[in-house]
């Protein structure tokens, strides 16, 4: 068992490491592709050589990031087959179909049009080139769509039926999978957050130009585009974040409770704007969950239910299976003890199905299949011996969520201030404080972006597939030492890539900044 836990832990660390490294590159691709598209559109409309030079400069940085980031996600697919083979088999074509579409359509589309973007200047018509630039951006977004559809299914498994004979979930409704509320919100929230990151990157690098007093015109024009894309991005990210919160409260209420460190819910639930959790608090004691908190009245009820008086269940309410109506009447839901019992019945039914199948007993198979279908929605709970095992890591989820929200709030303010300055108080952009603020916001947006993923993925623990499969059941029968070896190989490989990207970026930005970019002869 100790060995199994080690394999689970190492595999989780490995997956988190590769996913988080991958996610350093992807949002910048998503954001910069849009910004470059906007810049080239301006050039296409006014044929001003300055805008062509600006477009080419940011396109080069986009290319560097794309080259460093491309294929880093493939390792995740390797890990599915090796470390998470039970999971890979169990999800069947639910995961395979979107990833295959992603690989065949979106990635190739993105790669093809990138070639036109970089090689096509003066070789294809400006209109075709502009189309290629936008199609690259579309391809990047489509890549993200299919990955996020697969991820959303893990958080809210719909549109599938479990086949006990194949031991796989079989897709019964493709559109239910693609258009689930979790998938739609996750797609827009994630892709638009890439716009925010791209916007901050452009504004930040432009501020460095201003700090060095080089290519002032390029910097100011870039700040306008980066600022607008970032502002639209952050507003839309917040809006879709609201949609995500509603979806999470509906389909993953335990995650929402962990995000807020909420143990006992109530009608008209406040939201913690800032807080420090009490490390001694557990589901079994009566300690105050917070050492310190600043809360907004009714905030969580409004956020999660769009109703100031709605009941938001806490961790203990969910375990006990208790909810209240807005009027205060108690409504019983399935307690976690009930879910564990149903999960065990599902396990027994699956075992009986397997035995009946071996001897070809059709009647017993039908009976077992019916029992399995009746209890399958809580299949994963059958692995738990204690209800506490179904509670996610509260502290990490809580702090990651609040860090994301606080950083997101700062970014909204940042873009408003940046646009105000660039349009109304341009001389203030000469202030070193403003320039340093722009530059230092670059790491903030990455922290915000990574915190979002930590909230989404840690908050859904212990599940790899919500209610159906806990993470520990998904693991392959492999040794912990083999995962440790590849974990450290990835640390070296990805750190090398990151260092390479940063070095190439800095070198190119430094070298190009010394040229008169906007006076470049075209």
């Amino acid at each position: 068992m100790d060995d199994l836990m080690n394999v689970v832990d190492w595999s989780r660390w490995q997956f988190a490491l590769t996913a988080m490294y991958h996610w350093l590159f992807v949002p910048l691709t998503l954001g910069l592709s849009i910004i470059v598209g906007v810049m080239e559109t301006i050039y296409y409309r006014n044929r001003d050589a300055k805008w062509l030079a600006i477009t080419k400069f940011w396109m080069l940085l986009f290319g560097i990031n794309f080259a460093c980031g491309v294929a880093t996600g493939i390792i995740l697919e390797f890990e599915f087959g090796t470390n998470w083979s039970n999971y890979s088999w169990f999800v069947g074509d639910i995961f395979g179909a979107p990833l295959a579409i992603e690989g065949l359509l979106a990635f190739f589309m993105e790669s093809t049009f990138i070639a036109v973007m970089f090689f096509g200047w003066n070789k294809v018509s400006p209109r075709f080139h502009l189309s290629a630039t936008w199609l690259t951006a579309l391809g990047a977004a489509l890549s993200a769509l299919w990955i996020l559809v697969a991820n959303a299914w893990m958080q809210y498994p719909v549109g599938t039926e479990f086949d006990p004979s194949q031991m796989r979930n079989v897709m019964s409704d493709f559109w239910a999978v693609v258009a689930s509320p979790m998938a739609v919100n996750k797609f827009f929230h994630t892709v638009l957050s890439g716009w925010v990151l791209g916007g901050v990157f452009v504004v930040g690098v432009s501020c460095w130009f201003l700090l060095k007093r080089r290519n002032i015109e390029l910097a100011q024009k870039s700040i306008k585009i980066g600022g607008w894309v970032g502002l639209v991005g952050i507003v839309m990210t917040m809006w879709t974040g609201d949609g995500s919160a509603v979806a999470v409260s509906k389909y993953q209420p335990m995650k929402l409770a962990a995000m807020e460190g909420l143990y006992e819910g109530k009608c008209g639930q406040e939201i913690v704007a800032f807080g420090i959790l009490n490390p001694d608090k557990t589901v079994d004691n009566e300690e105050n969950p917070y050492l310190f908190d600043i809360s907004l009245p009714y905030g969580l009820s409004v956020l999660a239910k769009h109703d100031a008086n709605a009941f938001v269940p806490g961790i203990n309410d969910l375990i006990d299976g208790v909810e209240l109506t807005a009027e205060g009447d108690t409504v019983a839901t399935d307690s976690y003890a009930t879910r564990i019992a149903m999960g065990r019945k599902a396990h027994e039914a699956l075992r009986a199905y397997g035995e009946a199948e071996k001897i070809g007993d059709e009647a017993a198979m039908t009976q077992a299949s019916a029992a399995l279908a009746e209890n399958f929605k809580y299949f994963g709970y059958g692995y738990f011996n204690d209800v506490n095992e179904a509670v996610p890591p509260v502290a990490l989820t809580f702090y990651a969520f609040h860090l994301m929200v606080i950083a997101g709030g700062y970014l909204l303010l940042f873009f408003v201030v940046v646009l105000f300055l660039v349009y109304k108080k341009k001389q203030w952009l000469g202030s070193r404080i403003v320039q340093w603020m722009g530059l230092l916001t670059i790491p903030v947006v990455w922290i915000c972006s990574q915190s979002g993923w930590i909230t989404a993925e840690v908050g859904r623990q212990p599940w790899i597939i919500q209610d159906l499969m806990p993470t520990r059941a998904a693991i392959s029968d492999i040794s912990a030492s083999s995962v440790q070896i590849t974990f450290w190989m990835f640390v070296v490989l990805f750190t090398g890539l990151l260092v390479a990207e940063v070095c190439i970026m800095l070198k190119v930005i430094g070298r190009r900044s010394k040229e008169e970019l906007v006076n470049e002869k075209q």
Partner: protein, 75 residues
């Protein structure tokens, strides 16, 4: 028709060949991509990341049986 197709292929080939020839920073980026992809597929995938179920079992029935047994034995 055949002539048109060949002309088209030639133009696409030239488009890419000229593009690669005129690259500056791109050369390093392509080198990085090729090294990265080689490490991933020729080292990591080949030696460290086998598909466990494909490696250990010959048929889908055996794989399904193995997954069933593993899942039910874990509680």
């Amino acid at each position: 028709m055949k002539h048109k197709a060949i002309t088209m292929i030639t133009r696409v080939y030239r488009f890419y060949a000229d593009g690669f020839r005129s690259m500056t920073v791109g050369r390093y980026l392509w080198a990085m991509i090729l090294i990265k992809v080689a490490i991933m597929f020729l080292v990591l995938k080949l030696f460290f990341f086998p598909n466990v179920l494909s490696r250990d079992y010959d048929t889908d029935e055996q794989r399904a049986e193995a997954v069933r047994n593993t899942l039910l034995d874990q509680r």
